[in-house]
Every structure is written in C-alpha cells, then in structure tokens.
Subunit: 335 residues, 2 copies
C-alpha cells in the first residue's frame, strides 16, 4: 500500500490575516528514503506566531518560505523508515518537519528525543517556547530577586513559562492576557502575583496600580499598544526583552513604539532575542526546567487541537484570535 | 544705577513648534545677592534640542518647566557680585543659569570654570554635548576598532563629536546630515568617511551603499524616518544609542520606530542614555577631549549667534530648522 502525504505549500504572500487561499493543499504519494535518509511520520505540529513572519518577504533571521514551498513548521514524529545510521524505526524525533504528515529528511536539523515526558511537552516547555522563555528572561532580561517583571501574552506558550521562571527567581510578576479565563489561570494555577486583562482594563492604569515603583523587566510578545503602555511605566535601568510582536504580524503598517523615548528618560534598554543563539546551552535549560516541573514549581500546559493537516489554516488563526491558552499544537490523527 | 534683567518665562505649553506667544518676556530690576548668594552676568546661553522636552508636561528625567517659570537654560557667565565664599567677582561659571541676562543663585549647580579655552567651548565640547557624545558613544555604544558607526544630526553639537571620537577609536564613520554644506563639512573638516544628505538622498539606500556589511553602532539624535532607515541596516549584535529625537519633539503624535523588530532579527539593542549619570566621570572625559583638541584629532565648532535674550524664541527654532552647524549658542551683547 502506498501511503499518502498531505501537506500545505505557501501559495501567496498573505496581506493581513492569512486566508485559506494563501495556502495550497497537496496530496501526493509518500516517497521512499534513499541512502542516508529517513522517513518521519509526523505526530504533532507546532503552531507558532513566528510562522506569520516566516511567510513575509522581508529580511529576517531565516529566509522566508518561498511561494510554492512546503510551509515551515516545527514538529514531532516517529521514524517509520530509515536508511540513516543515526536513526532507527520507532525513534521519536523533533525538528523542522514542515506542515505535512510525512517528512522525508537527510537528518539535518532532526534531533532524537529521549522521551521522559508526554510528547507535546517537547514542543512547549522542552521545545522552542521553553528555551525562548528561559534564555530570553534570564539572559536578556537579567531579572534580580525582588524586581518587578511584566510579561505580555502571559497565558501563551512563552509567557506562561516566563512568568513562572520569574517567580522561581524571586521576582514579583504581573501578566497581561486577554479575558478573565486566561487571567484567572495565570494567577490561580501559575502563581503570578497579578494579571491585567487588556480586553477590559486600561493597561497603563493597571500597570501603574500593580507596579507602583515601575517595571524592571518587561518581556514583550505582543508589541503595539501594550508595549507602548509598558514603556510609560518602566523604572530606571529597565530591560525590555523583544521576543515577539503578535499584535503587529498581520498589520500591513506596523505600529512602532511611540513611547520609545522613555528608554532615555529611564536609561533603559530594549533588546531583541532569538532562541537559536543559545542552542549549545539547551541542555542546561532542559535540566533546570525538568527539575522545576518535577518539584511542581513549574506547570506546563499544551493546547492540543486534534485533527489533520487540512485543519492548519484555521488552527493557525487561533493564535491571532487569542483562542489558545498555553502552547498551541496540532495533533495529527492519521490512520 | 539699577541694572535691568531681561528674561523669558514659559507662558504656555507649545503645541508643535514653539511660538513667540508661548513665551513671556519680562524686564525687571536685578536683585542684590543675599548672604550665601552670588550674582552672575550671563555671557553665553546654550540652545539645546532638549529644551523642547523640558517644556512638555510629560514624565521625563527632569520636572517640566512650569507655566510662569523662568525658562531653563544652561549658560556661562561671570560673577559680578558675591556673598558666597565659593565664588569671587570675576570668576567664570557655568550651570543652569536660565534664559536671562543676570542670574541670582545660591551656588547650587553652579561650577567654576578653569578657563583654558574660549568660553563657548564650555557649552560644546567641554559641556553637555561633549560629555553626551563621549559617554553615549563609548559607554552605551561600545564601539570596537574597525566597526561601522553611523550618527544622525552629524553636523550638530553632539553628532560632530560622536563621529570624531569614533574615528579616533578606529571606527569607520558615516554621518547623516541635512544639505551639502553640512555633509561637506563633516567629511572634509572632521574626517568622517562618508556623509549622507537626508534631504536629497534615500537614507536606506545610501546606508546600504556606505555600510555594505551593516551598522554596528547607530547613535541616534533624530528619531523618525532616519531611525527607521537605520534599523533596516543594523548588523548582528548592533547597539543603538538613543540620545535624542529632534525630528519628533515638535510632533503632537510621535512616530515610533516601526522597524523595531529588526532588534530581534539582528539580536540588537536600543538603549537610552542621559549624560547626568556620568557626572562623576566628567573629569576623565574632559582630560581626554582636551588632549584630542590639542593634538588636532578633534575639532570643535560653535555656532554663535550674537544678540540679546529677546532673540531667544527665534534662535531656538534654528535647531529645528537645521540652521546651525556645531553647537548653537546665544552670545549676549549686554552693555
């Protein structure tokens, strides 16, 4: 029996929110691995805000996905055939497997997973979001015990972990999230000191209330009006970590932070971070994060949508609608 | 004979460019110093872009000048009467003397000048602009030999010194300035490697041409479109020094840097600096700057407008019209 691979190619550069017509759905027979190759059956696909950047034709940290090319996606899978000595059938692997059901690979950029936790955790706390939170907060943010840390998209894949690490490090933590359910979750279940619901509160006023002496570290995942509100409340010597700008990814005209001159007033800095720069230190982060998960000081939540590759365009939009809490993952229910 | 003091008070918070009606001109008799006070006859008044910030009712690094209060201004003068043991008649002094002809002071914030150079130099290279350029470039910018340094408002009080120090430190230096006269000056007289005339060139294209491998240090005095153009050309690990934003000071709606996500792409930082934080290290900067002036590696130019306090409102606007090259100073021709 020949297996069928289902996948999405980028069909057009989206203007604003990506539409289904920006994607091309393709079904094709699965190829056989050649010498040195392996075939991975994809089990989980990571849905990340960064995907929206990867499909723009702009200078970025990776070349954009070309028109007609397989959509780039991180994923987890199991090796179903191998002619590569590094991998055996049955191995669990992670890597840029693409938006498809079967990935044929020469093994480059594919890592074996030493399975110690539920598989989706390797796309969340043990994956890119966990590494981003760990190094972004600790290396770029440099929080000190007793300092005030604020994080936006606080109920998201990165934000939930940033806030919890900051708590572990002895900081006071305020999260900004959308809606009472998410705000309740980060305070009640994750131990944030306070939450600000940007959908119903004046963020600037609420930051003033919760951070009466100002913000020492602001970890930004959203950009736009929330970044501007945070800028008005930074304390002298504050560090702003630029990790993402989800509010702006679908805008044709990006809104720059109009209050950036607060960097001068507060002698503060705004620094961009990219997780790949810390690749050689992932083991250190994994060890520490595992310990925290074990002793219960860290909770990781995955928002798993069960379906097929065909559901990708709509599932991706959940990120921009704020429909997920924790890491958004598509679990493939292939036969 | 009773002396007359002429001064400007802030009459209204300007919207956009400050108009003469935003100021109140007052003539009044000069007071006598009381015990502990001194009277300074003001000789030179510094005109600084920061003045535009000082008169906004917004959180800043200093409280704003209040309505009805004397306009804040740095100045140089000579002590004409003293009942303060620290100062003798004939001493030259500098400090926040205000926009007036005679300053009565208790001595706080007034420094004696050990006159070794022409007086206006103590408002330029030996004053706030010199200190700002020195510490902003060397401490915040951290330029290394061979790196590419770009400075905006390059023919201004701070920019001229930033570019020259960067050259002394072995960097390649590109200045952005308005018009052929200024661009010629910074290359021919100050030794910049290249100049970009933002009035006639596409800054982004010209930066790409002059900095083919990207910008390592961008020292920003202007904000707006030029900051955005520079952001597109930063190199990995670039440092952006936020020193001023003269293009935005008279805007009712500040334009934030829309390309700030390049900080992430380039793992770069944008840091605000304020010269006052380095007060205890001014002597170190003064010693080094004096040496460079003596050996000819540094040139300092003052743009001296001779007139009276009454000319202040129009003279200030020269800064925003780009009418000055080097430090803009009002020399008082009092009788």
């Amino acid at each position: 029996m020949t297996l069928t691979n289902r996948k999405f190619l980028l069909a057009a550069r989206p203007v604003g929110m990506p539409k289904r017509s920006d994607w091309a759905y393709v079904e094709e027979p699965v190829g056989e691995p050649k010498e040195g190759e392996l075939l991975v059956k994809v089990l989980y696909i990571s849905l990340d805000p960064a995907m929206r950047m990867w499909i723009n034709d702009a200078r970025s940290y990776m070349p954009p996905v070309g028109i007609g090319e397989l959509m780039r996606a991180l994923g987890l899978g199991v090796v179903s055939a191998s002619r590569n000595p590094r991998f055996a059938v049955g191995d669990h692997v992670s890597g840029l497997l693409g938006m498809q059901e079967y990935a044929l690979s020469d093994g480059r950029g594919i890592a074996k997973i030493d399975l110690k936790a539920a598989l989706p955790k390797y796309l969340s706390v043990f994956g890119m979001p966990g590494m981003t939170a760990y190094f972004g907060l600790l290396e770029t943010g440099q929080p000190k015990p007793g300092e005030m840390v604020v994080v936006s998209a606080a109920a998201g894949a990165v934000g939930t972990i940033v806030g919890q690490i900051a708590k572990i490090k002895g900081c006071h933590v305020v999260g900004i999230a959308g809606g009472p359910e998410k705000c309740g979750y980060i305070v009640r279940d994750l131990g944030f000191n306070a939450a600000i619901d940007y959908k119903s509160e004046d963020v600037k006023q609420s930051l003033r209330k919760h951070c009466p002496e100002g913000i020492d570290v602001y970890f930004d995942n959203v950009g736009g009006a929330i970044l501007d509100a945070a800028l008005t409340q930074i304390r002298r010597g504050a560090r702003i970590v630029i990790c993402g700008a989800i509010s702006q990814y679908n805008e044709t005209q990006v809104r720059g932070p109009a209050n950036y001159m607060m960097l001068l007033v507060a002698r503060a800095s705004m620094t961009g971070m990219l997780v790949f720069d810390y690749e050689d230190r992932y083991p250190e982060a994994l060890a520490e994060l595992s310990g925290w998960l074990r002793d219960g000081s860290l909770v990781s939540r995955e928002h798993v949508v069960r379906g097929s590759v065909h559901d990708f365009p709509e599932t991706l939009l959940m990120l921009f609608d704020g429909a997920n809490t924790g890491k958004l993952v598509l679990a493939l229910e292939t036969e």
